[in-house]
Structure formats: C-alpha cells, structure tokens
Symmetry: C2
Subunit: 311 residues, 2 copies
Amino acid sequence: MYNYIGIDLGGTNIKAGLVDEAGNILKRASRPTLREREYSKILNDIEAIAREVSEGADGEIKGLGIGVPGACNNRDGVIVYTANIKMKNVPVREFFRERLSYPVYVENDANCAALGEYSMLPEKPRDLIFITLGTGIGSGLILDGRLYTGFNGIAGEAGHIIIMPDGIKCGCGRQGCWEAYGSVTALIRQTKEYAMAHPESKLREACGKDFELLSGRTAFTLARQGDMGGKAVVDKWISYVAAGITDMVNLLQPSVVLIGGAISNEGDFLLKPVIENVERDRYKSDVPQTEIKIARWGNDAGLIGAAFLGK
Amino acid sequence: MYNYIGIDLGGTNIKAGLVDEAGNILKRASRPTLREREYSKILNDIEAIAREVSEGADGEIKGLGIGVPGACNNRDGVIVYTANIKMKNVPVREFFRERLSYPVYVENDANCAALGEYSMLPEKPRDLIFITLGTGIGSGLILDGRLYTGFNGIAGEAGHIIIMPDGIKCGCGRQGCWEAYGSVTALIRQTKEYAMAHPESKLREACGKDFELLSGRTAFTLARQGDMGGKAVVDKWISYVAAGITDMVNLLQPSVVLIGGAISNEGDFLLKPVIENVERDRYKSDVPQTEIKIARWGNDAGLIGAAFLGK
C-alpha cells in the first residue's frame, strides 16, 4: 500500500497531509508560511512537515505534491509565479532532488482541488470543472479524465475571463474579469455599495457602523430572512457567478461543474439560482446538460489533490 | 494505402472529397443541399456523391465523415440539431449501416475544420483552437492532441461566450455573445452603423447608395487606404475578436489559436492587431505564450477533417 504527501502552500499557513490510496488523510501537520521569507526557508519547512507526517507511515511514500497559489510548470517542477509568496521561477523539484527519496510535483492550488474533488467521486464523470469563489476566483479543469493545464502549465484561469468589457479593473491589469464581479471580494464590495446607497436599509445596519460586521455572509443572511436589499445584492452577484459558469459550459460542455470556497456553504440558496441562471442562458441543444453542484471536500480537496499528483 | 471520404454539408451545397492518408484531396464532387428537403433525401445525395468520389479509388475506403453546421453526437452517430437544414436527432450512422461498407462519423463543421488544420500541420502542437469568423463564430478545440467535444458532444461553442453583458441579442437567445460582436455579420452591421452616423464619410460612400456595396471587406479596404472611418470600424471590431480569443487563452492556454473564415484573407492586417490586443490583455505569466496565426487550409480544412474523423 502506497501513501502520498499533499502540501497546501497558502499565504498564511503551510499544511501537510499524509494521504492513503483512498484519499483518507491519515496525519496532518502545519507551519506558518511567514510569506515574506526567502523561498528556501519555506521549502525547508515543507520538507520538515513532510517528514513529520510521514514518520511512522505504514506504506511507502510514492510522492509529494505541492498546491501553490499561483502559476506552476509541473513538467519541470517549477513554481513560475505566486502573487502572495515571494517565489518566481523556483525549481522546486530540483531543490528536493537530493533531499527526498520520492518525486516532487507542483501544481496550482485550484487545479489540485479539482483533482482532489474528482479523485474522491465514486463514479468518475468524464469532465469536471472546479471553481472556487474566494478572494479571487480559482478554477481547475479535468477534461477527458485528466487534469488539463494547457501547453504551458497555467491553463484554468477562469477568474480572468472577461464578463464585463470596460468594467472594474482587476488585479491582473485587465478590466471586467469574472473575479472582479463574482468573487467573494466582489460580493463584499457590492454589499457595501448597496449599503452606502441605502443608508436606511437593514443591510446598512447589518454591516455595522464602520462596516466592521461586513463579510461575504452579510447579504446572504439578510436575503434568507426575506430582506429585499439582501436579496437584490445576492441576486446580482449570483448572476455574475452564473455568467462565468455559462461561458465555460458553452465552451467546454463538461459533465460536472463544482462550486467550492467557503461561500458554497450557502448550499442550495446559492446553487439553485445559479442553476436557473445557467439554464436560462446556456447554448440550447437537445443533449444531456452539465450538472452543477456544490463541491464536497472543502479545504481537504486541495490537500488530497496535491497528494494525488504523484498517483 | 487507405482513403477517407469527407463530406462538407453546408446550407447551400454538399461537397464530397476523397482524401488520402496525407490529406490530399484526390477527387471532388458536389450537389446542391436544397435544404428545405426531408433529411433522407439529403442523406441519399450524400451517399451518391460518396460513391461518385470513391469510384476507381486506389485504396480501401476506411470511413466517411460528415461535417455538419450544427450539433452532433458522434459517439452515437447522430445529428442532434442544425439551424439551417431540417435535421433534428437524425441517426445518420444507423441510416448508412446497411448501405455503406465503411463506418460513418458526424461532427460539427468547425470541429472538422479544427481537425483538418491540425492534421495538416507538419509538427503537431499539443493544443490548437480553431475559430472561424463568418456569419457567426464557429470554433473547434484540439486539446492534448485530441478533438475535444465535451461529455455531450457539443463543446466548442466559443461564439456563445458572452463578451458584452446585456449587449446585442444573439441568435441563440442570449445577449452579448461573442459572435454578435466579432462575426463578419457583426462587422457588416458595425460598418453600416458607422456609415449611417457619418453620412459625409468615405465609408458611407463606399457602401453604395442603398448599401448594395456593403460587405465584410468594405471597412478593411478603406482602413488599408488610411481612411479614419474604416480604421475606427476595423479597430473596434478587432478588439471584439481579440476579446474572445483572450478569454480562451486565459482559460485553456492552447499552444496555437488559428483564425479562419474568408475574412482571414486580410492576413497580417487582421492578425497583427489581434495579437497586440491579446498580448495586452492576457493573463501575464513568465511562461511560453499561445501563438496566434491565420488558418491555412480554407474550406478544404473542413473536408479533410471530416474525412479524418475515421482515421
């Protein structure tokens, strides 16, 4: 029986998990990322927690995979670029070659999560698109049963398809990217805008005097209570989320789209209107249609997927 | 040596070609589609021209592929839907089972063209996205060296990704689809709008008194002569074309994007600004970038690709 090590390299913490063939996380460890550090110190800590979780492991370790919040070239084992951690063209596989007895893989964290969710499905669909709604919008594509990363390794940047030409400036430099409208960051901005435009509204009150209570949940909580302001904000935001999903459905016709990120805890309250929007707008044809569902494995998906890069 | 039969089922004509292993079209035949007819009559004519081109063929015929202007399910050999020809859920493979001694394939015409262009490249890229700018925008995806059609067979409808929310109504029912802005039909509309808004302009004159001279070439011809109106129309239209390409590059990072359709005869005058737009807007990362080129094989790409469905 083989085991695999998954690393989730985040802006705040580095998490490690020892994962068995079935995707069970047998042992966990974590360290703070301290992201201002030189990259070699971060890689040293990855090695340390990898050793920590593999101590006393039953089976042989078959590989270590690192999920990275940025662009990777997994063919060469290089972290190309991360926005939040100081890494640019870091030859991670090379770094660990003499230090670890098993191969090392690097992959974008949303791609890892896509692979994790896919691997844990009892019946594998042909294709799966995973999107994660958070600070930005991440995505990972499983096409024809395999992780699709493009010829250069950085495909799946669904957050940077344009849904609003000449729209709000995105962190990537372009205007009107999907993540500038459909991320949780955008939802919070949209909630605040509504609250400021309607100073007497319940939504304004729920944000707190200095907006100290404002979060991605604020509008959802009020919408669930039937508040019109909350509902207006949520409806609009969901229409943005659905716009990007519809584009991907029209282009790629995947078997399944999974929605992840903490906001997906809103469950059917998020999912049902997303499905209604996509159903209304998708390219119609008399063939089976893409299923849209909430992702199941939360943060563990990234860990499992990273581990399974070596599977 | 094997031969293959390719059929290009168009709204006006049905064309057949006998194609050898290398993609040479050895013999051609065609009949009018007469698209108002019952589908069985059209299929009878396909059989007739297939026999015509295969007469006296040197090698064994290995298969017949039909490129269809609509949605196909090639797994079952069914034409699901075409907008311009009366076909809905037509079991084409079944129809020919007793009549022809070789297998029959059906596939969307833009997918066939993508496969044709790909097959004729001396060095195969990993991925290729083919787009054809015409009445609408068609596209075909070769991902990881294989034609990608989605789990339901109808993927690659790039013309129906949204580039302008709440924009112009598209034939598909949605608003702001790429093809409502970046097709040649859209270019003609945009040329006419400019001409009507500027009645004293050269562009207005070039359209003819009753717009009888207006075509997709009108603005390009004037732009080449340095006319500001022509240039304004062409620049705007190219920005729309580039917007959709940028979305696909960000999402799929293909090795190559090929631009086809008659308008691609504009060559570098079209290509260079498209590349500049995409280069400005694409998601930046320090990795090799997608090449954008003009497609090479024109109408023959669809015929060759259809033939090679059986390869």
